[in-house]
Symmetry: C2
Subunit: 488 residues, 2 copies
């Protein structure tokens, strides 16, 4: 099409009927893919010749949509991450749902820019804010903002705290040597907390890493000692970042005590609840994050334990005006109007750095309102039950031991031998390459440890049993000749 001569009148299909047929086939094929996900490998490496397809020169001339869809089916679909598969337990990835898939198609069809202006996308995003405020015990007046993920949401929380503490002038003048701001998080905090300080120009040295207790939770008396030392040395404590679900083992910091600590000292209390925030959907588990309702800001992801398609991070902030003051600015081309498309008081772009923002609220709205939060909460409870089930396998095992408490949905375990670092790595590689299971590796006390983050709503107790059976089998095969087995 259009290989020479006059340009097409638009970029729309010349033949809508033909396009429509191809689109329906694509939808069917994708529903088949999700429905039959259990029947395929959890993960398949892309062969070199497939990878080579993605080293092509700039496509000056187009191709029929049907041919591109065929390429997708052949070269992309089989080689994706696999986090929808019940054998996927690597990292903390949501599994997605077909509901979210359809919702994302609808969002792309509307193609709304939710940076601002007067349209329904802003109301839907506000609805999600109200829902999460209700779920987490925040006031209705809280500000909410979709971002890519918790890494950015944590960064924005820090910026709001910085602005709130130093005043709006810091936006103009920047940080000055006299500020000496410091932040606190546990030694188990996600690396994005340290990164947030780097991005903001404070530097990661300004993050005090507070030791944890045996459960992996921040030790309050250690926090207090660090705070006292900082005060004595002339530093200015700014913020405490509590974890509601630490990345390595899913530990939860003592949020109620951290709230007290911050309230007494005038510190900003931020909670990194990347996946833990969704515990609020479970009547049985929500008490685990008690204290979160007293945070100044909470960062979390809907694409993890709410299974909204990637990406859908969120920041909830108690003091909406503090958030607005940290980001809003007058710009001629963003002039508001009393009516029309440019109406509206506060636009999302007044609450964060993005002017171009997809309609992440839609897939989230579809997921929550179709499934209901009780059902999402029940899936979370099931995951935690499966973690306990896996932990009980390990406790009974001769060859393996738990490397950390499995108190939520993450189970870290290890071979028992002296060579366990190499052996754990080999087991995980062999599991990946088997195509059946995808756990991940994390480092605990300097040792590479097998980590199963059980997030997938499709994973069953039978899967856990089969998984651990394979782990034991692979470990048995590895022991006589580790190097040969690891290259299988």
């Amino acid at each position: 099409m259009n290989q020479a001569g006059a340009p097409s009148p638009s970029l729309d299909p010349e033949d809508w009927k033909r396009f429509r047929a191809a689109a329906h086939r694509a939808l069917d094929s994708m529903i088949d893919h999700v429905e039959s996900i259990r029947e395929r490998p959890a993960w398949t490496p892309a062969p070199d010749d497939v990878r080579a397809q993605f080293r092509a020169p700039l496509p000056r001339l187009g191709r029929p949509f049907e041919a591109v869809l065929e390429d997708f089916d052949k070269n992309i679909k089989p080689y994706s991450t696999g986090n929808g598969h019940p054998g996927f337990m690597g990292w903390v990835h949501g599994a997605g749902t077909p509901i979210g898939m359809v919702a994302e198609m609808l969002a792309a069809g509307l193609n709304a820019n939710c940076g601002g202006r007067n349209h329904i996308g802003i109301d839907v995003e506000r609805q999600i804010t109200l829902w999460m405020a209700e779920a987490l015990g925040f006031p209705e007046t809280s500000a909410g903002l979709f971002v890519t993920g918790t890494s950015i949401a944590n960064f924005l929380g820090l910026l709001i705290a910085r602005n709130h503490r130093l005043g709006d002038d810091v936006r103009k003048t920047g940080l000055s040597a006299g500020d000496r701001l410091v932040a606190y998080a546990s030694q188990a905090a996600h690396g994005c907390v340290s990164q947030a300080l780097q991005l903001a120009g404070l530097g990661s040295d300004a993050l005090r890493l507070v030791p944890c207790d045996a459960s992996g939770a921040m030790r309050l008396n250690a926090l207090e000692r660090l705070w006292e030392a900082d005060r004595a040395a002339g530093f200015v404590p700014l913020i405490v970042v509590g974890a509601a679900g630490s990345v390595d083992i899913g530990a939860i910091d003592p949020l109620v005590q951290l709230a007290d600590f911050c309230a007494e000292r005038g510190l900003w209390f931020h909670v990194d609840a990347a996946f833990g925030a969704m515990l609020a959907f479970s009547p049985k588990l929500r008490d685990r994050i008690r204290g979160i309702e007293r945070a100044d800001s909470v960062a979390f992801d809907f694409h993890k334990w709410a299974h909204v398609p990637y990406d859908a991070g969120f920041l909830l902030t108690r003091d909406a005006e503090a958030q607005r003051r940290a980001f809003a600015s007058e710009r001629g081309y963003l002039t508001h109007a009393p009516s029309g498309l440019a109406a509206g008081d506060v636009w999302p772009c007044d609450l964060g750095p993005d002017l171009s923002r997809g309609f992440r609220a839609l897939k989230t709205w579809f997921t929550l309102t179709t499934l209901g939060t009780d059902r999402l909460g029940a899936a979370i409870e099931k995951n935690c039950g499966l973690a306990e089930h896996l932990a009980s396998h390990i406790r009974r095992s001769q060859a393996f031991q738990l490397s950390a408490p499995a108190s939520l949905n993450i189970v870290c375990f290890s071979c028992k031998g002296a060579d366990r670092d190499a052996q754990n790595r080999s087991i995980v590689e062999a599991l990946h390459n088997s195509g059946r299971w995808a756990p991940s590796i994390t480092m605990l006390d300097g040792v590479a440890t097998i980590r199963c983050a059980i997030v997938n709503h499709r994973t069953s107790a039978a899967d856990i049993d089969a998984f651990f059976g394979d782990v034991e089998r692979i470990a048995g095969a590895l022991t006589p000749d580790l190097s040969a087995a690891s290259s299988e």
Copy 2:
């Protein structure tokens, strides 16, 4: 479903056949929506009772997917931004394509997290990097990274420049008083450049706003004088941000001269090419951005002039290692492996702040490879031709005048009278409320000015004629009694 008792075994549909039927109806309805977009208003305000639907309490119990789709059809679909409509000329919004819509459904079905790991999503993103490196004259070894939008891409460009200049230690130690870094951009620069300095802790006072010439482009001798003054005062010039398409009027800074300027002085040369980068797809227009091939980094959006669904921002950086050093860090839970799902040298999360990243590369790949860049370039040429067509209407008009040169795709114009600020605002509000046209307002020399950013691939010369006819008609009606008309 699942209102009481045992939880469902997964969050997948209980009845796939029924789900599939609903999904196909949703797809048909959305294709209808796009195909018939011209027949509906460019924008429709959501009535209060519709908005009230999005003040609901937390949905503990789910609802049938079909009922939720009905709600979407009734309460969301009619009240979106309208940027797909040929009458939409507000701000610089892409129009989307049905190809992108299907691609986004596929991406959500795969639900890949493109933060890292060994899967095909990483290769597809790399393909986009190679394509844009080729299009913009960058080396194959350049780094590329999808982000939400150019606001973030500009921020990351600044961080890379900062790290490159101060060394990796700045990530630990933060900014210090002795750094005194300053940046340069034109007075017409987008507000996100100033914001980038705020986010990074440098403060927006560190941005020198260089005066523009009559075409809206940065004046090189003014830049030189500011640089000399800063050097004399002990400041440390870090970066020049050139605009390839300024936000208000689409002016292009003298990129070749800026490249020379930066090369001679050892400054980082960053180009904010939010929409202008896509001029590279037009053999006729690409000379307008000559010099961009010498930038250290370029930020742009595929969701603007490439019509990829929101959001799809991008950062292209010449020195991939400089980018990696600004962001990469060792994290136990991101341990890489020689094979398996955790293989791969540099993951996207080593090149930016996000660990959770949607598969933005897929919708971009589908759009570019299906349409071809020649056709995208032709659509861009058509937009620029329409801008000239509109400008010629204005030049011939008694009541209106151009407020700035219309040298690319943006036309800013104004009533001629003393009351023109209020009158321009009223005209734009009336146009929005008519449902036929959606231009926007920007401030030029302190006056609210009508701004038509012609980006939409569906807009035709006949649309422009009809639009300007309506503008003249509304202006005529406003003149006798402005206040009454503006509240219509």
